[in-house]
């Protein structure tokens, strides 16, 4: 579904991605592991059209995506749940969801209203908080709002950047159940996550990004079987 | 040297103090629209010292600088923790407060046959210490130039010291510098006091040169101009604001043939300059290159 080939992205003089290739297959959860500063967020922002790749190609459903502007990327069915959630703090929960549907708000108002009801059915807590400013929500509620907001654009590919960051273990579990549920409904997921053990538990395929390059990829069991990786990222003692 | 040239140079010198004052605050990351208030406080205090109490010229000017410095310290009690747009607006409000307060400031005492002293909206006239003391305009101009040079040297040395390092750190990131042990509030408070004193020094010199000062001299335009000078001349060195003043007043004069279009041309030049060099002519990179050139020349 998503094919990233030899993508190079740089900020000024610094090369953040030095030729990254990966594939996210339709209907699967693909996760990207790696240490801080490896370029995971940069990769997601490049796919999302916020950053422009210097070279390489990104194709989505067989069509080239590299160089497409962010509005068009969203329009083509890719949404990103950003790191630290980035909800609109002074807007209400309902307004946040409307903002998520921005690209189709002009032509499909009725569909957006229907999706809003569907979102409230899926996340009852958001319905309770509908009129509340998003900045007053708890971390877990904000994460749910961020996911719901991204879904309002009706994505086929959902990208998530560190959804577990700063959340209590129970809440994290809940979020991951939601992600797994969305995946079962047919949404392809590209997941960046520090919590490697949890990420591997729901992923079909995993990539390891180190210093702007893919260092390893394989199925979750292949990753766990690799001694160096499990020692570094899963905290399993070798030997 | 013609009288006209002398008065031009004095004007450049006097405004250089206000520009340096705004520059010091820029170093700690504060944008002030209110340095004109300290200029006027310094002017009134210096005038009162010499014209009302017969203090010698030099003492009077010192009194002006100290008074404005104290005012800066007092203001810092409230404004030191404030940053960003709030500092800009708070300093603007302070500048206007001083202006409006001076409109009803009456303090006249008989000196000889006349009443002298601040007279509300009519201002403070008859500050004649420069002329009764027999100082020629040229000598005064040279004294002002000397003071500007000394101030420049002092600030340049300060910025190279540990204190200057702390000031720059506060300007970059207050939270980070606090976590590294910089006393942010103290740095901000002392800088505000110092900046106030500098502007007050300018005010003391000004009032004695033109013999009067009025509330209208606490004009927002003076404050914003002095802020703009650093961005014209360059933020990389305290020489920047001085160059900014010289360019502004110098250029304005050379644009005189353009009569009514002066500000339009000058404003356009500043806008263009900011696009090409957003941190002024002598920005940090230019200063670094120049100093390497000088070091190479010395070898």
């Amino acid at each position: 579904m998503l094919e990233v080939r030899d993508v190079v992205t740089s900020y000024g003089m610094i090369q953040a991605l030095r030729g990254v290739s990966l594939t996210a297959r339709e209907g699967e959860v693909t996760c990207i592991l790696g240490p801080n500063g490896a370029g995971k967020t940069t990769l997601l922002y490049t796919i999302a059209g916020i950053l422009r790749p210097r070279s390489g190609s990104i194709s989505f459903q067989g069509r080239e995506l590299a160089g497409t502007s962010a509005p068009d990327v969203v329009g083509r069915g890719i949404s990103l749940v950003p790191e630290n959630r980035l909800v609109f703090p002074h807007m209400t929960v309902r307004e946040n969801l409307f903002a998520g549907a921005y690209v189709r708000l002009g032509r499909d108002r009725a569909g957006v209203e229907a999706d809003l009801d569907a979102m409230f059915a899926r996340f009852p807590i958001l319905k309770q908080r509908a009129g509340q400013a998003a900045g007053t929500l708890s971390g877990g509620e904000q994460q749910m709002l961020a996911v719901a907001r991204a879904l309002m654009a009706r994505p086929r590919l959902l990208m998530m950047d560190e959804p577990s960051l700063g959340l209590a273990p129970l809440v994290v579990e809940q979020i991951f159940q939601i992600v797994q549920g969305l995946n079962r409904e047919g949404i392809t997921v590209l997941l960046v996550e520090q919590n490697a053990r949890l990420a591997l538990s729901i992923a079909h395929h995993a990539y390891l990004l180190e210093q702007g390059r893919i260092a390893f990829h394989g199925t979750p069991s292949e990753v766990s079987a690799n001694e160096g990786i499990s020692r570094a990222y899963l905290g399993i003692k070798g030997g | 040297m013609s009288d006209y040239a002398v008065s031009l140079l004095v004007r450049i010198g006097v405004e250089a103090f206000v520009a340096l004052s705004a520059y010091l605050l820029l170093v700690i990351g504060r944008v002030s629209f209110g340095q004109q208030a300290f200029f006027v406080i310094g002017g009134y205090a210096a005038g009162i010292a010499t014209a009302l109490y017969g203090a010698p010229l030099a003492v009077g000017i010192m009194v002006g600088a100290v008074a404005a410095g104290v005012a800066g310290a007092l203001l810092s009690a409230v404004m030191a923790p404030v940053g960003g747009i709030y500092f800009a607006a708070g300093s603007l409000a302070f500048g206007e407060l001083v202006r409006v307060a001076l409109l009803s400031f009456h303090y006249q005492v008989p000196v000889g046959a006349d009443l002298t002293g601040p007279a509300g909206a009519d201002g403070f006239r008859g500050v004649r210490a420069l002329f009764t003391g027999g100082v020629s305009a040229t000598a005064f101009m040279l004294a002002v130039a000397g003071l500007v040079a000394l101030t420049f040297l002092a600030i340049a040395l300060l910025l190279r010291s540990r204190w200057g390092e702390a000031m720059r750190m506060v300007g970059e990131d207050e939270t980070a510098s606090a976590s590294l042990g910089v006393r942010v509030r103290r740095v901000a408070a002392l800088t505000m006091a110092g900046a106030g004193a500098l502007a007050g020094l300018g005010g003391g010199l000004f009032v004695h040169y033109v013999t009067y000062i009025e509330p209208g001299h606490s004009d927002v335009m003076l404050g914003v101009h002095s802020l703009a000078y650093a961005f014209i001349g360059g933020l990389g060195t305290p020489l920047g604001p001085i160059i900014g003043v010289a360019l502004d007043i110098g250029l304005l004069e050379s644009f005189r043939f353009l009569a009514g279009y002066r500000m339009i041309v000058f404003g356009g030049l500043v806008m263009g300059l900011l696009v090409v060099r957003p941190r002024g002519l002598l920005d940090e990179v230019a200063v670094h290159r120049l100093s390497r050139l000088v070091a190479w020349g010395r070898r």
Partner: protein
């Protein structure tokens, strides 16, 4: 008591135009995170254009309004191009200094065309004044208030009920997240600027018809009032700017009635200063 009520009513009427100026400031600052010091001077140019049209075609009020708003919008586009778009990659303070340079240009432009310094501005004098009990409602003040209120209502419908408004507020809240939702941030920024200039031009019409004459100091005056209204309301909040404007208007008219003209400005600046000195937000949010 009647004095107090009269001053209160006058203050609310005056404050409505301050609210408009504050909203113009808030739209630009909220969306672009940059201060436009030239906001007042752009309105000044609009008013001068309107004044000239009014002198050339006496009685053509609509032409006066149109000239004022169009000139303000053109100046706004100029500011947006030169001080915001051209400097989008620079620190916000650089934009602010640049708007100051534009200010000097606009001020000079006005005095170039207008040697006499004071310009008359037409006012619909045929409107009757109202008296409600002991309270007198001057016709120009009434027009100022109802005009400003109508504009604010329209503006709030636009910002809170339309797709465009959602985008504007989303960018103001978090431009990064808005971009991820597919909002074209730079287009929304330019549109917010145009909207602010339009609001500013309309505010200029309302204020000028009430004062019936305008001097070049109007630029500084309008910038200070707008900035104050915005900051009183908490810098970036749209309802806050409305409240800030009304508070400023009421404080001004109350001090004017009870203490006299010279205290009016003192009170408004003291209010601004106190709000900044006491506001916890000012101490935690370096935004420039």
């Amino acid at each position: 008591m009647v004095d107090f009520l009269q001053a209160l009513v006058d203050g609310v009427m005056l404050g409505a135009t301050y609210s408009l100026l504050g909203l113009g400031f808030t739209l630009i600052f909220g969306v672009l995170r940059r201060l436009n010091l030239a906001f007042g001077p752009t309105i000044l140019v609009g008013i001068y254009a309107g004044s000239h049209v009014g002198l050339a075609w006496p009685g053509a009020l609509w032409a006066v309004v149109a000239a004022t708003v169009v000139a303000a919008i053109l100046c706004g586009i100029y500011v947006e191009r030169c001080s915001f778009r051209a400097l989008a990659r620079q620190a916000p303070v650089v934009s602010m200094i640049s708007t100051f340079a534009v200010w000097m240009q606009l001020q000079e432009l006005v005095s170039l065309f207008e040697a006499s310094r004071t310009m008359p501005y037409p006012s619909p004098a045929w409107l009757p004044a109202l008296t409600v009990g002991p309270i007198l409602l001057r016709s120009d003040a009434l027009l100022m208030w109802s005009g400003a209120t109508a504009i604010m209502l329209a503006l709030f419908v636009l910002l809170y009920r339309t797709r465009f408004g959602t985008a504007v507020r989303a960018v103001a809240d978090s431009s990064e997240a808005a971009a991820l939702m597919g909002v074209n941030v730079s287009i929304i920024g330019a549109a917010a600027f145009l909207l602010a200039s339009t609001v500013g031009g309309l505010a200029g019409v309302l204020i000028a018809q009430s004062q019936q004459q305008v001097t070049p100091y109007f630029g500084l005056w309008a910038t200070v009032k707008g900035l104050t209204a915005m900051l009183l309301g908490g810098a970036g909040s749209l309802p806050g700017a409305v409240a800030g404007g009304v508070i400023l208007g009421v404080v001004e008219t109350q001090t004017l009635w009870h203490f006299g003209g010279q205290w009016r400005d003192l009170a408004s600046f003291a209010l601004l200063f106190l709000v900044i000195a006491l506001s916890p937000r000012a101490r935690s949010e370096p935004t420039l």
